[in-house]
Structures are given as structure tokens and as C-alpha cells.
Symmetry: C2
Subunit: 262 residues, 2 copies
């Protein structure tokens, strides 16, 4: 099978012009089919503030009300996504920007109201992805750039970018040898969160469960690891968690971050 | 050749929920390949106001400075475009939203600074359109929905939606029998702008030039007519100017608006 890179960048990359410029250059240089998923970054909160829309939280978790949905649709689906596409085009990469609504590429389920009503939030699984159309676009040399938005019943929904990356990687693993790369601000998954040099270079299910039991992981990395192992269970061959600045070092058999395998 | 409908809606349709709902239903019902181009509407100005960004004009013509470009990228490329796509998907239409940057579908030239610097405004011709990719997407049953944005040199550019509709129609007329439909708030091109029943049902180049010389046309319709006759010269078979509410009446040989032919 052909190789496919599914790469996720978060707000820390989008908010740092020097890192973003370097990342885009490295992304364009990848000589294989590839998909980019981007998160939000500080700009959505800034625009929300300027529009007088307050971020609402319940038990520390953000709620997407109708006004917030409009802000993220504008900022993620419009500003950030289209700016990335225009810049990648300039670098010779045939980027095409998408939300999950476009071509019905990712259809979500609006999160059911339980104890908390999260509002316009979409939950997704591997089955949410229109992989037939994605494979078809990739074969045409199109490079899909995803904003963290999905859809259901005629409305857009806010969806976690890490999770979108995970389900895209999983659904495409039937057609490609997928390496899913989570780019963030650290060198990888750290044994000691205070020590940047304590990168766990290789992590398998057994070691993951051992570290989990021991409570070794920093809280912030847990959702990423959960998404990673869900993807592995769904057939993704390799997952790499590393620094956006190290993208070029994380494309081959030798890697600089944390490589996760079954 | 197969028939293709290229349909443009302006702000008046987007700003009127009842008209928009009816329009989308009629659009979805069209049993032929089709492309939608949407303009802006009042929401862009409202969001700009709330963000404290003033609209700048020179000699009555709007200037797109960097802050305004961000607003239109958010509102046209994000909010309006993605909401239309999500609603069309719900109606069973496989819509996919684009700016000209996506897939390099419409590459523009930034308007040269003459007496006036219009800022981030893109000028386009028939040659600006990546018709190969568009034909390919249409053949896959994808319905392209265009925001009035193009790109050049890594940046997005604000481009008139009527003009985008015209160049898309022209570039695709090599592959399809194109009917370009401009939907607006009047029944068609009027002989007497105060009389809604004075629709000119058929307009050809000769009659157009006669009316031009006589100064019969209302100022507001002139740019639309210019775009229309440019498209006709570039091979578009038929252009229809009519009311968005009359879309369903403007798809066959009998029409309710102004039909323009060579």
C-alpha cells in the first residue's frame, strides 16, 4: 500500500509565525499523499472577545452555543483554513480546504445532552468519514486541509481536531499505510513533563497501560494518547507525537518524537 | 453537450431567510450539473462594524484593506459558504464550498494600483479558472459553492461575485451548454426601473447597444449586463437575469426574467 501522512497542527503552531512558516515548508516537501488538520489557536478567542461573545464553560469544558459556533465557523472554516490554503498554493502544494460538511466528508452526531449540554459539538467515529471521496481527491493530487468542523442535520458542529485527525487516519488505513502525526509544542510524550529530554521514543499498548497504571502521564497528553490508541486499534499503522519544528525528522524510519505502534 | 447551470445569488437572497429557503429548495431540484456563486450580504458589514473595522471608500468604491480582507474571508469564505454547504447537504445536494484558492480553482491578478489603490482585490478572466479540476469535480456529482474570493501570491483577494459567475460560466462553456443565471431582487432587466412589469424578456447584443445609446438602463444593472455580454462573447450560450424567487421558472425554454442570447 502507498504511504499517507495525516498531520495535525494545533493553535501553538498557528499562533507562531516563524514555526508556521517552517512547518508549511516541511509539509510541502513531503513526497507522498498527505492531509493536514488544523486546530484553532488564539485568534478565535480574540475575535470572539472583539465581537462581545463570551466563552462559556461548564465544569472546565467549553460549551459551543450558537454565537460561538458562528465564531468558529468564521475563524476555523474561513480565516485560518483559507489563509493556510492560499499560502500552501503559493508554495506549490495543491491544497483544498474543507470542513466536514463539504462533500459530506465528515458527518457527525450532535453530542447528546446528558448532564451537560455541550451545544453544537459533533462526535465522530471512523464510520463518519467519506473515505471514498477522500481517496478519490488524494488520487487527483489534491491535498485536503481540514478545519475542525463537522456537520449534521443542516448545521455545522465544532469537533476536536485531534479526534478528526484520528478518525481520518483510521478510515484511510484501509487504502493507505497511514502515519498519523500529532504536532505540538513538546518534543514528544515525556516521562517527566518538566524534562524536555525525557521523550519516550517508542510506546506500545503494553507500555502505555503500564504508564497509565503508574499515573506517569501528564494530564494534558492523555486525550492525545487516547485518540492515538483508538486510531491504532482501527488499523492506523504508526502514530507519531512530536514537535511541529521536528516534522522533517519524523517522516522516515528514524524519528525524533514518540512513535506509537501496536 | 450536457447542460450546466451557473447560478449567482446576491446579498438580498442571503439576507432574506424565506427567499433563501425557497431558493435552496429550487436549486437542489435542478436535475443537471450546477454551480452556485454567492455574494456577501449585510452580515459582512455587521460583523465588520462589531469588530470596529470601518468600511473605506474612495470615489464611492469600496477599498479592501487587510482588516476588511480578514472580515470577508471569515464571513464569505467561512460563515456564509459553510452554512450554505451544510444546508444543501441536508437537502441531499452534495455541495462542496470553495474560494478560488482551494485547488487553485480561480487564480486572480491583484488589481494594479492606479489612481486608486483598491487593496486586496482580485481581477479575473476566463483564463483564471482551473476548468479541468472543476469539470472533474462536477463529473463526480459534486456541486461547487463559490464564495467571492480568489487568490494570488499566497494571499486571498476579494472579487466581485457577478464577475466570478461570468468567468466560471465562460471557462466551462467549452465543456457544457452553459446557462448563467443572475438571481437578484427584480423580475429581470426593466425598461422602466419603476415598473416591475416592464421586464425585457429577450435581449441580444443589438438591442443592448441600442438601449445603451438611448441611456435606457438603470445604473445598477449596467455592471451585470457588462458581465453578461462578456460571458456571451466568451461562449456562454444563454444568460438569464431574474428574480431569485423565479428560479424554477428560469430553467427551461420558457423563462420569466430577461434572457440574453448572442
Amino acid at each position: 500500500m502507498n504511504k499517507l501522512f495525516v498531520i495535525k497542527i494545533g493553535g501553538n503552531v498557528l499562533d507562531d509565525e516563524a514555526v508556521l512558516t517552517m512547518f508549511l515548508k516541511d509539509f510541502v516537501a513531503i513526497q507522498a499523499p498527505k492531509i493536514l488538520i488544523h486546530g484553532g489557536g488564539g485568534i478565535a478567542a480574540k475575535i470572539g472577545d472583539r465581537l462581545g461573545i463570551e466563552s462559556k464553560y461548564v465544569k472546565g469544558r467549553r460549551i459551543t452555543d450558537a454565537a460561538t459556533l458562528d465564531v468558529v465557523t468564521m475563524v476555523y472554516g474561513g480565516l485560518l483554513n483559507k489563509q493556510l490554503v492560499a499560502r500552501l498554493q503559493e508554495l506549490g502544494c495543491n491544497a483544498m480546504g474543507f470542513t466536514g460538511a463539504d462533500g459530506n466528508l465528515i458527518k457527525a452526531t450532535k453530542r447528546p445532552v446528558g448532564e451537560t449540554d455541550f451545544g453544537f459539538v459533533g462526535d465522530v467515529t471512523t464510520e463518519s468519514v467519506n473515505s471514498t471521496l477522500l481517496v478519490f481527491l488524494l488520487k487527483q493530487g489534491i491535498i485536503p486541509i481540514f478545519a475542525p468542523l463537522t456537520h449534521s442535520n443542516g448545521t455545522l458542529l465544532n469537533t476536536n481536531a485531534d479526534t478528526i485527525a484520528s478518525v481520518l487516519a483510521a478510515s484511510l488505513s484501509m487504502h493507505f499505510d497511514v502515519r498519523l502525526i500529532y504536532c505540538f509544542e513538546k518534543k514528544g510524550v515525556l516521562k517527566d513533563v518538566k524534562d524536555e529530554n525525557s521523550v519516550i521514543t517508542l510506546l506500545d499498548k503494553k507500555l502505555y497501560e503500564k504508564f497509565l497504571t503508574e499515573g506517569s502521564f501528564h494530564d494534558g497528553i492523555l486525550p492525545k494518547l487516547e485518540n492515538a490508541f483508538t486510531a491504532i486499534q482501527s488499523g492506523v499503522k504508526e502514530i507519531l507525537i512530536g514537535d511541529a519544528k521536528d516534522l522533517s525528522k519524523n517522516l522516515g524510519p528514524e524519528t525524533a518524537g514518540t512513535l506509537i505502534k501496536n
